[in-house]
Symmetry: C2
Subunit: 392 residues, 2 copies
């Protein structure tokens, strides 16, 4: 069961697992499509409706996806879906996942924590009550760790202090109400594993890039979303689109911010590996799900170089950082556990950049230039609702 | 401004600060009185209505308490209260604070996290927007730390790992949805201090015992609440009441559970010290607010001994532990920062036990024996609402 299965990671994962022979259900409220409409920010790629996507997948693959449209914060709905479908694993992507969105105003900050924390609690309760053996695979983020000055481990760290030693949850320093909601989820899930014997894998995912996977490329109606705007667009995807339309790459602040990244084709593979090798009952397992580390400046250089090969002249510009974050810092995060399970990373090679850049060039006429510059400031967030006015 | 000022710690603190000459406002939705009615569990001491209490305090002390009755999850209400009263400090006690209550059923688990996390977010937003210099003094709990096998520091720990060193938030291992809500609050507040320059003190309080403070003893209509039931009663208070009515002390499991404790007279003094020595702008400060450590078995022995002096024959019994927690563990928590600010602890001497025991004896006829044994199990919590049936 893929919660958030209409979204960027969820759609690609649903098709990948379906292709592999798993029986797959998609649970999604489609609220992300509502955000797009409300903010007037649309995916670069023209995505089909969920109904059309699912129908097309049936035609292309012969496989049926079950669909449950509803909100996991609504327990009655969730209970019905879980009792009907009886999943062996629930992969939970279904959250509000944009840091800038969570920093737009108080309403959206509260919505983000409420939607994410309560949705996850409901899923935990549904599993406990109806399917106690079911494996919860929960999407977290590398952003939960922040940028500590020591190596980042996978979920836990062994600390020796005043002559005694214990292995404890790795300290969390998240830096937006969105990232914080993931920290809250992680603590709640760890408790449920301990108190109820639930089994869970927390995937602290890096920033995902790329569009196509083997399955979504099979038909244009299966195409995945690609966000490039300043609210939902993530770093590398955003840069590729900027390069394609001749907009300077927008480096926030000094550009030394370093994070873990991975190809969407690796996301779907990681989900496959997590499901195929479930946590034990009572186990709370944490994997850092990314393949390579880059600073923003690294990415800008890579995109500039790849753009040149396609004849694009790519410039970069430093814009004031709308976030509150360190712009120069130590960063070294472990990510061996998924590799041990068999992950063979796609590396961010020129080849990939070409393909991402090519998609960007292909759909360049869909780019709304007004959505590229950051308009959400971490410091200026207010308790008054931020009304989005249509562009003239 | 005392949020939760009608509650056990809040009422005593409001009077104490008022007595010292602070202008004090109480903000409270009175929802705790609703829980009491719904569960049919009442404080041992007969408390007056908030309106009567405040009127009586005016008569006794000549000081007026401002009162704002409403829910801090309602931002409009909170905005109005904050803009009208313009506090220099907000002391935030106003949360659902019972671990068993949060483990009764899914509804109450969700309510607890929602009420506590959103209420605190609203207070943060109100401070940021209307009174950016205002000092947030937030009640957390020692339960946020769990029972690690190393010493517990005050909020932060310096870790040397693979040859590098950083001072990071102390890892949290909470063990109920209530305790988890406090962990979430702490992370959210730490972020607001960093991102917005807010000033905050997180008081990780131990278990509070006692009834009277100098101010609440001035008149019987000022008396504080004393909870002894299995849902809202905390360890030592509960034992004293059990001793008074001849009920064996209910030790959960092996009784090796060790925690930090403090006298309610020290709670009010800690609040005074935190306000008088505010955090700096942008600072997120954590104090462990307790004075002594005891295991449940220690407490049972102390109550038995003190009871003997009053001629009470006190027995103890080990009941199956309804919680999921270690029953034998290392525990050594630092608590020097409040002492450095001038706290002079009242120690859990026989004297105090006498006075607590005396109060229990005084009101023994108000004890409902049906409310003493634990009825909420961490493992049996269900998604179905737990309906409380009136006792016949
Ligand atoms: N995209 C990334 O780079 C990235 C990086 C790290 C972690 N993640 C995590 O992976 C997950 C998926 O991210 P994404 O990029 O696919 O996001 P997305 O916005 O494209 O998809 C999320 C989906 O969840 C649905 N949803 C949200 N709240 C819901 C609710 N209460 N009930 C039912 N459905 C709900 C939305 O409608 C949407 O279809 C998120 O949890 C995100 O935090 C993503
Ligand atoms: N009592 C203890 O032993 C203890 C120990 C550690 C920490 N604490 C913390 O200290 C604080 C006070 O504890 P207490 O024992 O006085 O609890 P209490 O239940 O006696 O008082 C809490 C008060 O807050 C009010 N309240 C709850 N939610 C509210 C909301 N959304 N809006 C407005 N008012 C609301 C309730 O009506 C109640 O009057 C709590 O945050 C608790 O977690 C208490």
């Amino acid at each position: 069961m893929i919660v958030g299965g209409d979204g960027y990671c969820g759609w690609a994962s649903a098709l990948h697992l379906s292709k592999l022979g798993y029986e797959v259900a998609i649970v999604d409220s489609l609220v992300r499509r509502l955000f797009d409409e409300q903010l007037g920010m649309y995916t670069l790629t023209p995505i089909a409706s969920l109904q059309k996507r699912v129908k097309r997948w049936k035609e292309v693959s012969g496989k049926q996806l079950a669909v449950y449209i509803g909100d996991v914060c609504d327990f009655e709905f969730l209970e019905d879906a879980v009792r009907t479908f009886k999943p062996e694993a629930v992969v939970h992507f279904g959250e509000q996942r944009s840091a800038p969105y969570s920093m737009m105003d108080r309403n959206r900050a509260v919505f983000t924590q409420q939607n994410n924390v309560i949705g996850t609690m409901n899923i935990m309760f549904a599993i406990k009550e109806f399917l106690p053996e079911c494996h919860l695979v929960k999407l977290g983020t590398m952003g939960e760790y922040g940028t500590p000055n020591i190596d980042i481990e996978e979920g836990f760290i062994t600390i020796t202090h005043n002559g005694r030693t214990d292995t404890l949850p790795y300290p969390k320093q998240a830096s937006s109400f969105y990232h914080l909601s993931k920290v809250h989820d992680s603590h709640n899930i760890a408790f449920a594993c301990k108190a109820w014997g639930m089994r869970a894998t927390d995937l602290n995912q890096g920033v995902v890039y790329g569009v196509h996977t083997d399955e979504t490329s099979l038909h244009e109606e299966l195409i995945n979303r690609l966000d490039y705007d300043a609210v939902f667009g993530t770093a590398l995807n955003r840069f590729c689109v900027q390069a394609a339309v001749g907009h300077p790459l927008t480096i926030y602040g000094k550009g030394g911010q370093t994070r873990g990244y991975l190809d969407i084709r690796d996301t779907v593979r990681c989900i496959e590996l997590a499901i195929a090798n479930p946590a034990k009952l009572g186990e709370f397992r944490v994997f850092n799900q990314f393949t390579e580390q880059f600073s923003v400046n690294d990415l800008a250089k890579l995109v500039t170089r790849a753009g040149a090969k396609l004849g694009l002249e790519v410039k970069a510009t430093n814009v004031p950082n709308p976030r509150v974050e360190a712009e120069e810092h130590y960063y070294n995060a472990k990510h061996t556990r998924l590799v041990e399970l068999g992950l063979e990373p796609h590396l961010l090679s020129d080849a990939l950049l070409d393909s991402l850049l090519n998609v960007a060039v292909q759909y360049a006429d869909r780019v709304d230039m007004d959505q590229i510059l950051p308009a959400v400031s971490w410091k200026k967030i207010s308790s008054k609702p931020k009304t989005v006015v249509g562009t003239a």
